[in-house]
Symmetry: C2
Subunit: 247 residues, 2 copies
DNA sequence: GGTCCATTTGACCGATCGGTCAAGATTCGT
DNA sequence: ACGAATCTTGACCGATCGGTCAAATGGACC
């Protein structure tokens, strides 16, 4: 009886402050079993701390979740910003963006699954939205360089498509792994995926370069037609911006 | 968390047997708040039944979840099968498949979100896998008509890409709706999405027809080259394996 | 010494959870 | 009409949940 060593404590050595250890434990646990599946007692146990300390430092379970989420989104946005910062042709920068996204998601697939999981929970997805919105605007700005505002190749369409092409490979990995008998996030299959997404990006960019007007065909009303990037830049407020566009 | 969705108790539609009413209530609740967020008491309350009846008919909460899941997957697979059944060129059938998928997911976006949510839960995703696997093989067989087995345009790559392009539009709808100020699942935006996915399908099919060899470039070994669908059918019937990898 | 303040502890609370049970009510074959 | 099988009820169980609290620690400054 007594304390069963079945629950991995993983970090009983006093690495970092108590607050950091709780945050790290919560991070791991939320990703493993989702928000509802984690109890404050579990978090404290893995952090080698007392349950009450969870509430002392983070006030509530939702506060803890929020802390974990924003830490992740910061890393997420930083990874994408770095990929977009360097110079190069539009095509090179798109490839870098998609590469960085794939690498980040493959490394943090549990986090990606967590976010997708909480999407269905109406009480927690305001938290997700708060982090998602600036990230979306950031990427949409980047896509606005190559894609029109409306029509069947609009920036928002490409965003969802490329985002889904990369993300679902990672979030569906546990399922696909069983169906295929191989891990989609391990070296051979992950590189296959990278090849595919790059191929897809090139396909779309070729089509956009070949006939930029036809891609916009489905858009009915003529729009005021200011500089597209300028209009878009004005829309995204100054606060959320991370990297000024270098072209 | 919040007790908003709990208050839906009185005036249960006397339609159907008690078992059906419980199943319908569970369906709605699981989609609203996920597996962990639903209690047997909630289900019984909404169904206008007694809590013990949930366990009488479905043995456990997981049994109830399994019943809900398989009912949904049956409808899902039926929708896709109908789209693939009719005759036509490969391109027409691919368009119909994607259309049917988009329509089904737009109508059942809550279900799509539920499935994605439970993907992160290792204790429930065997249940999801049991339903996902045959559906995957079914669609992969269809894709095998147009796509090679390996390389950057392999059937499995296209599956994840198109599936993600359609599905994420629906599962991310609550988030995108707030960012855009419009509902992605309502008429105007949903048709925009359909245009985009059709455009994307054409882009890929054109590329595959133009140079079927180059798409397969990354695949080194020459394969026996029997009828692709036949070989795939035999393979998937025989065992869980889909494609032996040579690299 | 003493005092202040952030940190830590362990016991405690009410509510809710999934699941069981024995006994009543209803339906049905005969 | 009668017993058997099926369905329904409400009370009940042990466990766990998020969250609180008063008291104990321990170091920093005077």
């Amino acid at each position: 009886m007594d304390q069963n060593p079945r629950m991995a404590k993983a970090a009983p050595p006093p690495s970092g402050t108590t607050q950091d250890r709780i945050l790290a434990a919560a991070e791991a646990l939320f990703c493993e079993v989702g928000f509802a599946g984690v109890s404050a007692r579990d978090v404290a146990l893995r952090a080698g701390a007392q349950k009450a300390l969870v509430f002392y430092y983070f006030h509530s379970k939702e506060g803890l979740f929020e802390a974990v989420l924003s830490r992740y989104y910061d890393a997420h946005q930083a990874a994408l910003a770095e990929a977009l910062a360097a110079a190069g042709t539009v095509r090179e920068r798109m490839h870098r963006l998609v590469d960085a996204y794939l690498d980040f998601m493959a490394r943090h697939s549990a986090y990606a699954r967590l976010v997708q999981a909480e999407l269905s929970n109406p009480s927690t997805h305001p938290l997700v939205e708060k982090n998602f919105a600036p990230l979306y605007r950031f990427v949409e700005d980047a896509l606005g360089e190559v894609a029109p505002d409306e029509g069947r190749a609009a920036a928002r369409q490409l965003f969802v498509t490329f985002q889904g092409a990369v993300l679902n490979w990672c979030t569906y990995a546990p399922l696909l792994s069983r169906v295929w008998g191989q891990d989609p996030l391990a070296a051979p299959l992950l590189e296959d995926r990278r090849e595919h997404v790059r191929w897809l990006v090139d396909l779309v960019l070729d089509a956009l370069e070949r006939s930029p007007a036809s891609a916009r065909r489905a858009a009915p009303a003529a729009r005021p037609k200011g500089g597209r990037a300028a209009a878009r830049g004005a829309r995204s407020r100054a606060s959320g911006r991370v990297t000024p566009r270098a072209r």
